[in-house]
Amino acid sequence: MFVLPPPPRYPTGSGYPGNPGAGPIIETNNTLTHPTGPEHQLVVGEGTYVLRDELHLATPPPHPSEAPVHNPNPLATTISPPSAGTKLSLVVIAPRLQSSSRLYKLDTTNSSRSPIPPSIQESPHESNSQASDTASHAGNAVAFAPLNGLRVPVFGEGNTSLLVVNGKDSKDPLKRRKPKSNIIKSNSSFVSRVIPHEGISKRLQEHNPNGLFAFANVNRALQWLDLSSPTKEEHMTKILFTKAHALCHDVNQSTKGPSHIDIVMGFSTGDIIWYEPMSQKYVRINKNGVINASAVSEIRWLPNSENLFLASHMDGSLIVYDKEKEDAPFVAEDQAVSAEKESSKTSLTIKKSVNSKNQKTNPVAYWKVSNSKINAFSISPDARHMAVVSEDGSLGIIDFLKEQLLHLFTSYYGGFTCVTWSPDGRYFVTGGQDDLVSIWSLSDAALVARCQGHNSWVQAVAFDPWRCDERNYRIGSVGEDCRLLLWDFSVGMLHRPRAASVRNRNSVTSNTLRMQRTRTESSATRLRSNSNLTTATEAAEVDEDEIVHPVEPRARTPMLPPVMAKTVDDHPLCWLGFEEDCIIASCQSGHIKTWDRPKEGASSDDGATSMTSASNP
């Protein structure tokens, strides 16, 4: 039997031998600059955000075996594999209250500060009854009950065959299970090189537990960065993959610790890697696309889950994987598929349910949302809902605990590119190829406002949880127009055109709005939430009108202007994040910019928020 020799591995720093001379040969280093001046500041009502620094991640040269074929024909029809601009996954090791978790745990129902009737739940009685209901179903479209004192629902907890996996680890929660293979010594041809920093252990010791670690992809590299380090341009570890690009990655916030970080990455080849940077161990999942061969567009750990994460593939599949499980070629499970024969757009095609008893191997669950490319998804803070956006302009709200599609919205036009939830889980916000940031309400299952201000497609949206309370929301967005826009969305203050109502809290207006859809949504949703025992298939038979929502005409939808718009880069931006002390944005070509929050003003604001949260332990 002929065995292929392991691929050549190139010593660090010597560059690639035999490089034909095209492009840079030697790995270049990241650069850090400190541009100053008013053109690098973001001026908003609360103060001025000053650019702290700009980190430029070095784009690695192509792998020698994958030297780019230079095609001079501008009309060449070769399809290049999907790639993504630099995105960051941030993690702070110290166990701290995430601002977002603080907020969504805020008991707005009893908040004296809020003059608004307690949000979505029209009758407090109902919410109470649900609260006592062990949270297995808090009513789906009716907003989640405040999570204080509630057990957070866990995906697949009803399925005993899922629990078997890791009995021994649960005894010692501090000792996390590490992946199997060492990435530095790996022979895999998937990984090209791993370049740890020479002083990595020293740097790890020096790292402030409150400091920010970041994982950032650029081209075929993934870099682990210490953003709080004075030498933050020096990567902690850089992994170069042979060919595949990491398009997305996510850090498990519930397993992080001083000696442990779980990160999963999804690749352009469909592969997924679970990587633990402290021990430099990794495991490759969906190897060579054995379960699904299309690229991974978004990957997220399931909330409060140690092992399970969800990946969206570009063929329209959502797949739950277990980091501990082996791959097995996936065959759609019969009973599920036959039950859902018509793969209609109005329901989720469950190819493998989480409740399946066959849980020895990956995938844990396999859903087909549509055949269109999924561009992004986001899991709500109540750990129950999931918003999935696709290239075909559809936005699905899925109750992933029940594996059921609740709502299907359509963009104004063009595809959706990104989605995120408000910290309290009441709203979700999308960005798309119509240049709009759209705000949607979960409880009303309706479009709340469109935000117009980008000059090109929106690439990322994020809430600033430090500037959100129960009525006001700060949203940030970045786009292909190289601009960063901030929006202030206040529930009561919407500029509405014509007769259209926005404040759906008001039952009268919400009713008129619903009547336009010739159906009272509230009764419908309540009906559904009450019939909790209906199986997914039965629920899928519910009238399509309730699930599919029409496109709202412009004349009936409030239009929101940005509070700040600024060109912050020469390249299209692709990621945006808010941290307690800064705003971070990154662009297609690896520039990461950090702005410090305004010194005063912000502190008083933050004080107010933390006070509120303190009063609600």
């Binding site: 292929l4 192509p62 075996s65 994958e66 030297a67 780019p68 230079h70 095609n71 001079p72 024909n73 501008p74 009309l75 029809t77 070769t78 399809i79 290049s80 594999p81 790639s83 601009g85 895999s188 041809s189 998937f190 650029v218 081209n219 042979t242 060919k243 595949a244 352009s268 190897k287 060579n288 696309g289 061969a293 299309s294 063929d315 329209g316 757009k345 549509s370 055949n371 269109s372 075909d392 302009g393 359509t410 036009y413 063009g414 190829q433 119509d434 240049d435 117009q452 000059n455 090109s456 497609w457 292909e480 127009d481 005409p553 412009r554 004349a555 299209p572 297609q588 070509s589 690896g590």
Partner: protein, 769 residues
């Protein structure tokens, strides 16, 4: 040679070892269907509406502007239907060319006046309906030596994927429809661009083959006869041509119906069977309405001007056939359209003549869409006059365009302001500047997905391919004209579902081979998908290639050399070894064949090399010539614009007020001066001829409307042009309009008044002087 035409015959397979001559060894390759043929393999019977015909268009030296636009119009379904059914008569199948009518054969290549040709009989309907390769073949055989369309230095086998090679293949495969006849009499119309286009459409639809090549001789002849600016072999502006064509069609159609009414006196629209003597189809009522071009392409813009002195707002409606939008770096089409309708200050040199105050006042102006067209043609103004260089420059800005679109810039009272449009055609300009380059179009067909139409070549492409032409630094190929058509949400969803299903199907089949057993994935194409990497600065080699591309595509000198080179190429291209090993089983006999073939191949290669050398020399020569010519043109253009600047400044000094304001009465003589200047410089031809035409988008762009607005708006429509003539008048501004046009010739202007009244471009009221 015979193997080419027999390439579709199933009999001549690679299995037959009787390869006695050189071409025979090509069979394994020749038998490989083109991607388009593969796509059409399972097609059923040919539909009668022409929606499943995929014909390339022959390029007669820089006529790609025409090819790309006609393709777009052909696949504009309602447009094609109207062209076919107007004027109403029998369906195209029944139309045989009147046997007795002598048909002049016209030679467009030389641009000489039409002359009767004895070959008429050969071009009889029979010849036209059958595979007309005999027409194509003789021309090929009068070939020049083995010209390879490839840049020197590349190996012939690399060429296999080159567009040049594919184009030759397409011509060789045929059928070639030589459109050098006209049927206008049968339509009861006089010869015009419309009838020539109709001839083309009908010939394509009637032809038994699904694929082929159209040689639009007649069409080009008429175009060149009637429009001086298209007479030169220079690179032309595709948008300009679209505009001209649409206006021409409007005019032809209107003229015809007027004529008919006066002729028949009492004639009702549907009582017109007289002209063709055929049965009037049922849908004649609709198709006989002459306004169908308007109905499809025309929208209405309302321009609101608020005088800042008296605060009076005046409104004016203007019709448009397409919208010309300014571009900015890193924007979207949505944003460009919004910018188009942004408020604009009319101040300083650009004041507004207010009727109310009676004088030039500062004013605010905005233009919004009041009536949305069924087909929205969007012209991205990629050619912009730059002050520093004093000439047009191509803007490579990255401008993204979505597959679906709605317009934000509608008036409040617009009907259906949320109308959904879908992208169905993109005209792409490839090249570094406005004076040279190549046009292709990418078009969504009814049920065959997106296709790339590059002159003779038609190739299926992925839907995502459409997004390759957003533009950007060092991206030579960028979208130039976008065609959006009205659609509904339901249609969109239905289509998306179908599309996705097809894609899913494909995905389930393809990955099997796409995922090899080895851990390294073999994927096609570019391995580093990172944008930075792909956007490398063009190397010398690239430029070199581009020069040849330019040459092959649009350079005029030897019109047919490209096609004639075919044989040499085909017969002598060495096969890729890997392919060979795939295709041939290793039986002994075949091995022997292989050896022999190898020998032959080598001999052929040598021969080829020789020829290639020769050719390369020639090409080099040509390219140099070409380059020199372009340089000259450029210099001339430069000189001219400099001269005009001087002239302009003089003017301004003489009459500061009017000159700065650019008011029309003074401007006309001034424009005239330009022309005289041209003549003085001796540049009446070539690159300068384009400058005699004002940009249509600009001409259609009213900025001042001295006099009574209400009056004018009432007349909006036919007489609009009179108003619209008062476009900008400084050269800088004209250039700013975005089309490579400059100073209008007065005479031409007069003549075209009626034609080019509809294209509206938004131009910021800034001066570039």
């Amino acid at each position: 040679m015979s193997s080419f035409f027999g390439r579709f015959k199933p009999g001549t397979g690679p299995a037959s070892p009787a390869s006695k001559d050189v071409p025979a060894k090509k069979d394994p390759n020749a038998l490989q269907p083109t991607p388009l043929e593969k796509l059409l393999a399972d097609a059923g019977p040919i539909r009668e509406d022409g929606s499943d015909k995929f014909f390339g268009f022959e390029n007669f030296g820089s006529t790609c502007y025409c090819n790309s636009i006609i393709q777009c119009l052909y696949y504009s379904v309602p447009f094609r239907e109207q062209v076919i059914s107007f004027p109403s008569r029998s369906p195209p199948e029944a139309l045989e060319r009147p046997a007795n009518a002598p048909l002049p054969r016209l030679n467009t290549d030389t641009g000489s006046p039409p002359l009767a040709n004895g070959q008429n009989s050969a071009l009889s309907p029979k010849g036209r309906n059958s595979i007309s390769s005999p027409v194509a073949a003789p021309r090929k055989s009068t070939s020049t030596p083995g010209a390879l369309g490839a840049p020197p230095g590349t190996k012939p086998e690399d060429n296999k994927d080159s567009p040049e090679y594919k184009k030759k293949q397409a011509i060789a495969a045929g059928p070639v429809l030589t459109m050098d006849y006209e049927n206008s009499h049968a339509y009861g119309m006089s010869e015009s661009l419309f009838t020539a286009m109709k001839d083309i459409f009908e010939a394509v639809i009637v032809n038994k083959s699904r694929i082929g090549v159209v040689s639009p001789h007649k069409f080009l002849e008429i175009l060149r006869r009637e429009n001086e600016m298209f007479r030169t072999p220079m690179h032309q502006d595709a948008h300009e041509f679209l505009n001209l064509l649409l206006n021409e069609v409007v005019e032809n159609v209107e003229q015809f119906s007027k004529h008919r009414i006066t002729e028949n006196g009492h004639a009702e629209p549907n009582g017109l069977a007289t002209t063709s003597g055929a049965v009037v189809p049922q849908h004649s009522l609709q198709s006989n309405s002459t306004g169908w071009v308007h109905e499809l392409f025309e929208g209405t813009l309302t321009s609101e001007t608020r005088c800042l002195t008296c605060e009076n707002t005046s409104q004016r409606d203007e019709a448009f056939l397409d919208l010309s939008v300014d571009l900015e770096q890193h924007t979207s089409v949505t944003s460009c359209l919004r910018k188009f309708s942004e408020e604009e200050m009319l101040c300083e040199r650009n004041k507004f003549h207010c009727d109310n105050c009676g004088g030039l006042q500062e004013a605010e102006k905005r233009m919004k869409v009041k009536r949305l067209p069924k087909i929205l043609a969007l012209h991205l103004k990629r050619f912009k006059y730059t002050e520093d260089l004093q000439r047009l420059q191509k803007l490579f800005h990255r401008v993204v365009y979505p597959y679906y679109l709605r317009l934000f810039n509608t008036t409040d009272d617009a009907e259906d302001p949320d109308r959904l449009y879908e992208l169905y055609a993109v005209v792409v300009h490839i090249g570094g500047g406005p004076y040279h380059g190549h046009y292709v179009s990418i078009i969504k067909t009814q049920d065959r997905g997106w296709l790339l139409f590059d002159d003779e070549m038609v190739e299926p492409v992925d839907k995502a391919y459409v997004r390759n032409f957003f533009g950007g630094e060092n991206v030579l190929a960028c979208a130039y004209v976008l065609f959006y058509q009205e659609t509904t949400l339901e249609a969109m969803q239905k289509e998306q579902e179908a599309e996705e299903e097809a894609a899913a199907k494909k995905a389930t089949v393809v990955p099997q081979e796409g995922v090899p057993a080895s851990p390294i994935h073999k994927q096609n194409g570019n391995t580093n998908g990172h944008p930075l990497q792909t956007a490398t600065t063009p190397s010398v080699e690239q430029e070199d290639h581009f020069a040849s591309l330019n040459h092959a595509a649009t350079a005029p000198p030897v019109p047919h050399s490209d096609h004639t080179a075919l044989e040499h190429m085909v017969t002598s291209i060495p096969m890729l070894n890997s392919r060979k090993s795939n295709l041939q089983s290793l039986s002994k006999q075949e091995k022997a064949d292989k050896v022999r073939e190898e020998k032959e191949r080598k001999a052929a290669e040598k021969e080829l090399e020789k020829q290639a050398k020769q050719k390369r020399k020639e090409m080099e020569q040509k390219r140099r010539e070409n380059y020199r010519k372009q340089e000259e043109d450029l210099r001339a253009a430069l000189e001219l614009s400099r001269a005009s600047v001087v002239e302009d400044e003089k003017k301004r000094k003489v009459n500061p007020l009017t000159a700065t304001l650019g008011e029309s009465p003074d401007a006309l003589p001034q424009l005239h001066v330009h022309k005289e200047k041209e003549k003085e410089n001796g540049f009446t031809k070539g690159g300068l001829s384009r400058f005699r035409h004002t940009s249509m988008s600009l001409r259609g762009k009213p900025k001042f409307w001295p006099g009574n607005h209400k009056d004018k708006s009432e007349k909006a429509g036919v007489d609009e042009s009179a108003v619209l003539q008062e476009g900008p008048h400084t050269p800088g501004e004209q250039m700013d309009g975005g089309t490579p046009a400059g100073t209008p010739d007065k005479g031409e202007k007069e003549k075209e008044k009626g034609k080019n009244r509809f294209s509206l471009g938004r131009k910021k009221s800034t001066f570039h002087l």
